[in-house]
């Protein structure tokens, strides 16, 4: 910050004007609350403090009103840096808006960083109505830092270049999973028999009218979801490492159809059971309306096409390494089966990949993700298989305003993937369905898992473990950590 006297000194004047004349002046968008920071900025005016002119203020009611996605929109509209600021903790005009904001920022900041959006372009701050000084300093610092980094050409390139989409992966093959030709269908295992017996018992005793489980597909030799209402047909049921689908998806997206068949019972693996807990927390499934049957799971395959009749460390889905819920929790019924102890090795491949990426410069992460997102065709398969993406109308379908560019082009692809990630932060149970369903093999589980780790580190929260808890993004504690806020 400079005083007016300093600003009128020739040198200072020159630099400001030089910046204006050169069209290179960076643009900073500031999202501020009406009561503290906006008033603080007013006071800076009343006190005639001098600061850099590059900031454009968007006045909102409260930091709690600031959707993290506004920041993405700001970048899409050519901002080179963003300031987000509101009342100090305890001072919120609306009692707790800033506490909510603070949690959202924790997740969003980690997400931005993880996809390689330079953290140094985003400034979180508390500026009270009396901290005119702090406001002026904040703006000056932001302008200086961002000027040092230069215009955000990286993002602008996304916006400018509508690159033609070119598939790089043999994605069509991913859609032909199954047991390779020549490998015979396995004999029913003791687990298969146990699953059948349980289903039969449930239908016969009237505990449920329809059982949602897995069976061999008629032609292709792979496991597919089936609905069995007749106790005689329970003989078709199986459970093995090819049973990848998360069947809880049928309880939300297809709730109406399922309801028409009568009370459902559903087979769940440990990770699927966690989804049910989230659905219960969010009032999407009434737990008393469904019978949940847990099956012990020793892991499923990642790519069914690699299946050789049994699971090997190479064919095991990375999400299963380090799994803590091989025996599902919160179930009504359980199928008895063997659970092999976890291999003693350290981090799961996903976590070690995250650690590796975190250690890289943000530019490397940006390049990695841009390459990945570039392939996205906006098929929304990730959303369709996700039990937690149950929205009546997804944000992608909202056009007043248009949150996401509907065409498959890099800018919209990035915002779509960021939006879905932030919507799942603290809720995703790493069932890995989106990752599996993505026809162009975008490693979506990496992002979801990253934000899961944030939830764990920052708030000691693991999604889908405790039906009595609430997801970390809708609650707060007044003393939540905030070391990243100026």
């Amino acid at each position: 910050m400079e005083t007016k006297a300093q600003a009128t000194e020739p040198a200072a004047q020159e630099s400001v004007q030089a910046a204006v004349q050169k069209k290179t002046a960076v643009k900073i968008v500031a999202f501020v609350c009406n009561w503290c920071t906006y008033a603080g900025a007013d006071l800076a005016g009343t006190s005639r403090m001098q600061y850099r002119p590059n900031v454009r203020v968007v006045r909102l009611t409260c930091t709690g009103r600031i959707d993290p996605l506004f920041l993405i929109k700001a970048f899409e509209n050519g901002a080179d840096g963003v300031i987000v600021s509101g009342c100090h903790p305890g001072d919120c005009h609306y009692v707790a808006g800033n506490y909510h904001a603070r949690r959202r920022w924790v997740f969003f900041k980690s997400l931005l960083d993880f996809v390689g959006i330079d953290e140094r372009r985003v400034f979180f701050s508390w500026v009270s109505a009396s901290e005119a000084n702090k406001w002026a300093k904040l703006v000056d610092e932001a302008v200086e830092t961002v000027t040092g980094l230069g215009p955000y050409t990286q993002y602008k390139m996304l916006t400018d270049t509508r690159r033609a989409w070119e598939p790089e992966m043999p994605w069509s093959e991913a859609w032909a999973p199954g047991i390779p030709e020549g490998v015979p269908l396995p004999e029913p295992t003791p687990l298969d028999l146990a699953v059948r017996a349980k289903a039969k018992e449930i239908l016969e005793t009237g505990k449920a009218k329809v059982v949602i489980g897995y069976a061999w597909a008629k032609r292709q030799r792979r496991a597919v979801p089936v609905f069995v209402a007749d106790p005689a047909e329970t003989d078709s049921l199986i459970f093995n490492a090819l049973c990848v689908n998360n069947l809880t998806n049928y309880l939300t997206r297809h709730a109406k159809d399922v309801k028409a068949l009568g009370r459902p019972a559903v087979f769940v693996k440990g990770c699927d059971a966690r989804n049910l807990v989230v659905l219960q927390q969010e009032s999407q499934v009434r737990r008393e309306d469904v019978t949940v049957i847990g099956v012990p799971c020793n892991g499923v395959v990642y790519r069914p096409e690699t299946w050789q009749g049994h699971l090997t460390p190479e064919t095991l889905s990375p999400k299963c390494a380090g799994c803590e819920v091989r025996e599902p929790r919160n179930c009504d019924e359980t199928v008895v089966g063997e659970v092999h102890p976890l291999p003693a090795e350290g981090m799961s491949p996903i976590d070690s990949k995250i650690a590796e990426m975190d250690a890289q410069p943000s530019q490397v992460r940006w390049n990695f993700w841009m390459e990945q997102f570039d392939r996205c065709i906006k098929c929304y398969a990730c959303r369709q298989v996700c039990p937690l993406c149950y929205c009546e109308r997804c944000i992608t379908e909202k056009n007043q305003p248009q949150w996401i560019d509907t065409s498959a082009h890099p800018e919209g692809n990035l915002s779509w993937n960021l939006i879905r990630a932030i919507h799942l932060a603290g809720r995703c149970t790493f069932c890995g369905e989106c990752d599996r369903a993505c026809p162009v093999n975008i490693p979506l589980n990496l992002i979801n898992r990253k934000l899961g780790l944030v939830a764990k580190e920052a708030y000691g929260y693991a999604a889908g473990m405790d039906p009595g808890s609430l997801p970390p993004m809708i609650v707060f504690k007044p003393d939540d950590k905030e070391n990243f806020i100026r």
Binding site: A7, T8, Q13, V16, Q17, V20, K27, V29, A39, A41, D42, A44, G45, T46, Q50, Y51, P53, R56, V57, V58, R59, L60, T61, C62, G64, R65, I66, D67, F70, A74, N77, G78, A79, G90, H93, Y94, V95, A96, G97, H100, A101, A136, E282, S283, Q284, C391, E392, R393, C394, I395, K398, Q400, P401, Q402, W403, H423, L470, M473, I474, V475
Partner: protein, 659 residues
Amino acid sequence: MARIGVFVCQCGNNIAAEVRTAEVAEKLKDVPGVVHAEDARFYCSNPGQEQIRKMIKEHNLDGLIVSACSPHMHEKTFRKAAETAGLNPFRVEIANIREHCSWVHHDPTKDLGTEKAGDIARMMVERVKRDRPLSKIKIPVTKRALVIGGGVAGIQAALDIADGGREVVLVEREPSIGGHMAQLSETFPTMDCSQCILTPKMVEAYQHPNIRLVTYAEVEKVDGYIGNFTVTIRKKAKSIVEENCTECGECIDKCPIKATSQFEMGMTKRKAMYIPFPQAVPGVPVIDRNACPKYVKDMSKCGLCAKVCGPQCIDFDQQDTFETVNVGAIVVATGYDVMPAENFPEFSGGKSKDVITGLHFERLASASGPTGGEIKRPSDGKVPETVVFIECSGSRDERRGVSYCSAICCMYSAKHAMLYKHKAHHGQAYIFYMDIRCGGKRYEEFHRRAVEQEGAIYLRGRVSRVYPRDGRLVVQGADTLVGSQVEIEADMVVLATAVVPRLGSKDLAQRLGIGYDQYGFYNEYHPKLKPVETVTGGIFLSGACIGPMDVPTAVAQGSAVAAKVLGLFSNDEMAREPIVAEVNRTTCNACWDCLVACPYKAIEREAIKNRQGEVLRYVARVNEGVCMGCGVCVAACHSKTIDLKGYSDAQVYAALAAV
């Protein structure tokens, strides 16, 4: 197509010095939707507003931007002006080109200011295009008030509201109203007897046709919103059928059990069947269930009180009861506590009976107190020859207590020194102080009197230690003015302990949905401009629950709050700003994220039913009376089903696109 007018104010030279306003106006004409743009010297002046009104009519404007000072200055002015010209006030936005532009950037060429002012105005044009015309929300008002806490602040509020013709329910936690003022002996700076001026007010409140006292009761639950609160009151079991009691006091006389009197600061006993003090209002006694053998010894013998009670109103089996009242406004007047002497072991607090707090001293000096108004020390009843008063015990000292000044201790310590001198003529009072703060009317004179006429010795400095020696108390401290250590042998030490929030004040705040500071004092809406309002509409504050204060201020606040409440009650309906959230019922998932996140519990579950009345599904519904328009829910909702009027997603996006 929008028909927007842009008015660029020069604000004399305040804006014009840095911004070529005419050029900004000219350039804004190119923005689609802008049909008129101009500049002038002062739009906030009457001719300026008239010009705006004229242009609204002439150009048939449906939205306008005033590029001028901060919206915090004149948004209301311009919205009102527009309204009188027939334009919806919520189609008016302010582009802040003074505080956020001309005053903070200096460039002799004016290029910089002109460019930025243009940008700001353009953002606002895009925003105003998406401003929906809104109308104020009308809410019915229940014209009855709840006052929580019957100290002098609460009593004053209740009396003034009642005199204004509105009903009041006054809820007091203790068996009697009166609060701390009932404990005081005489009051600074006029030295009138506290009981003598308070008791008539207590009786007036009791007998007022518009006031209903509910004593020995607490607020259990608060639902609803401004004008429409539903409050559940827990009435603790008095073990007496209140309606039948004639307040004769026979039962108290007969009760054989003694218990510590909190009112007398533990310096004497009262009965298990008791009224806290003789002038208690109401005079209906209660049974202390922690003392009465009927309860502590599991319904064993005794029952003497029941035998003597003429109207037979003693009911040992009485349970707590609950009552719901509907009120339109709530006044919180729950007062304060003082830090106990036990908090100061270095001053022998809690160890020596003769180390007491100011409130103890009030009781010793009170004619109705345990010593009949004579200053006798608690340990042996001896009249102390030397008394040391230690100010700022725990105040202005984050390490030992609180960082704030307790505001009243300088005054009451001077008062105590005087009272002591009047009652024990040969006694000597010493007062250790940090600074003397006597800012009130006639307060400094009062303090001078203590020094000059009553011979109190003031020592500037802190006390490091108080310890007993041969039946007396040795006070070791520093006299910083002389620059030496002092040691005084005293017979009694009075600690002016810090004024602190009521125990459980945070709990009550959470039940009410109001804010509090780090200590637990309640937050005013604005410390200067809205000192008796809270951020929650319809809930007001008065008295020492806001912070330490003296009786005159507490009474003034009681009256101030009454004016606010009567103002609120002066209309059958109240109008409020329509900046509230709204739900798109077709896309709501009923996930209740918004409901959990809303700081005001403004979101409800609404059942959507078919013709047969079966519930098809639930959706979120915003209670417009409760919603404060923060928008926390909006950012919480994944599917963007909920939006904030006046600050919609579409508006923010449009503004961003114009950056």
